[in-house]
């Protein structure tokens, strides 16, 4: 009998969500965004993780100094005082934080914005509005790599 014929492979799910959330080890995640709504959304979405909140880049740097064991940074671009790209630049120039992956989550959706952020050292770029499954999938992949 030809056994290969009966070998079964499960079709890949088109989207990942709850599965990523369940399999992901609890992490410490810094959220830098000036929108309270987005902070609340991440709180709900990433409830099994420890979240550290900051409303702009300057506060983000301060929180990072206080929480050097942060595993991941979720970063908006348009913020008062210090914007996301300035914050990203500061993080990537600091040896203590350079290894922390940064995921940009922004309403800025132009190709040049994405490229600029990725060239500056961002690990991924997600456009707002986003679906929870897509962001969980990206976070999971970034943390795994």
């Amino acid at each position: 009998m030809d056994t290969m014929r009966y070998e079964y492979s499960r079709p890949q799910k088109q989207k990942l969500g709850r599965e990523d959330e369940k399999t992901m080890e609890p992490k410490k995640i810094l959220v830098v965004d000036d929108s309270k709504l987005i902070h609340k959304m991440f709180e709900v979405m990433l409830r099994s993780n420890t979240l550290v909140h900051a409303e702009d880049g300057q506060e983000g740097l301060q929180r990072l100094v206080e929480n050097a064991d942060v595993d991941l940074i979720l970063l908006d671009i348009n913020m008062p005082r210090m914007n996301g790209l300035e914050f990203l630049d500061a993080v990537k120039r600091n040896n203590a934080f350079v290894q922390i992956p940064v995921v940009i989550v922004s309403t800025e959706g132009k190709e040049e914005d994405t490229e600029r952020a990725l060239q500056a050292g961002a690990a991924a770029y997600i456009k707002k509005p986003f679906e929870s499954e897509s962001i969980l999938s990206v976070i999971s992949k970034v943390l795994a790599s």
Binding site: G17, I38, M41, V44, K110, K128, P129, S132
Partner: protein, 256 residues
């Protein structure tokens, strides 16, 4: 027993008679006929089927089971995706409602409406209009985001009409997602409190990476229609009451 000639041996002690010979011949003829019939019958009856291979039968059954399982899996995958989409939509609705009613500060409520428009709906241009308490036909532009000279109707501090979709919603309190002819408003959301239309939220343009409003966005617009006005009203009443209380406290201090 037969002799050497091939003729049947006659019983001992008995004489062969023509009658006996005839009977024997008939019997031999009947026997030959029976032999022919038996051969014909054997040719007519199909041979018994060969015994089936149990392994092949099991393989066929397993294949059928596998086909059924794959169909089930495909259906479950579709349902899982639908459920995850639904979960995402419900989460958006929950967070939006939570934030709208999380504060009694008028500025924060307005800011939350702006954030819902921008961050959850993907609106690049939006405007929040609130009816002027003294002049019924005039709305204050309470909040605006991303507007330019093409949106001149909303650029001032007040809106006095002229945009057909917004005017229609302000008149009948119906949520409009399909723009009317001559209108560049993508959606007009009525803000109603106890049946009274107190204003409208107009979505004028989405971000380029957001192609269109989805069914989930429609749910969010419905939620805004139901909750934004009450949140704004509660914040306004609280603000007015707080102001009055502070005035009274100051008066009491002065009297003392």
């Amino acid at each position: 027993m037969r002799d050497g000639s091939g003729a049947p041996e006659r019983p001992a002690g008995r004489e062969s008679t023509p009658e006996l010979t005839r009977v024997v011949d008939e019997l031999e003829g009947t026997l030959a006929e029976a032999g022919r019939l038996l051969k014909a019958l054997q040719a007519a009856v199909p041979p018994p089927p060969p015994k089936e291979d149990p392994a092949a039968e099991q393989v066929a059954r397993l294949q059928r089971d596998l086909d059924t399982a794959e169909l089930d899996l495909s259906e479950f995958s579709t349902r899982l995706i639908e459920t995850e989409n639904q979960r995402s939509r419900l989460m958006n609705l929950y967070v939006a409602t939570y934030q709208l009613h999380a504060t009694l500060d008028l500025e924060e409520v307005t800011s939350t409406i702006a954030e819902i428009s921008r961050e959850l709906l993907g609106a690049q241009k939006y405007v929040l209009l609130l009816r002027n308490e003294s002049e019924d036909q005039v709305c204050e532009v309470s909040l605006a985001g991303g507007l330019d000279e093409r949106d001149h109707l909303f650029l001032g501090r007040t809106y006095t009409g002229g945009e057909p979709t917004v005017d229609g919603t302000l008149a009948d309190g119906v949520l409009r997602v399909d723009p009317e002819a001559g209108s560049n408003v993508l959606a007009a959301v009525p803000l109603t409190v106890q049946g009274a239309i107190v204003g409208a939220l107009a979505i004028l343009k989405l971000f380029d990476h957001k192609p269109a409003l989805t069914a989930g966005d429609r749910d969010l617009l419905d939620l805004l229609a139901a909750h934004a006005a009450s949140a704004l009203l509660a914040a306004r009443i609280y603000s007015a009451t707080d102001r009055k209380l502070k005035t009274l406290e100051n008066l009491v201090k002065l009297v003392r």
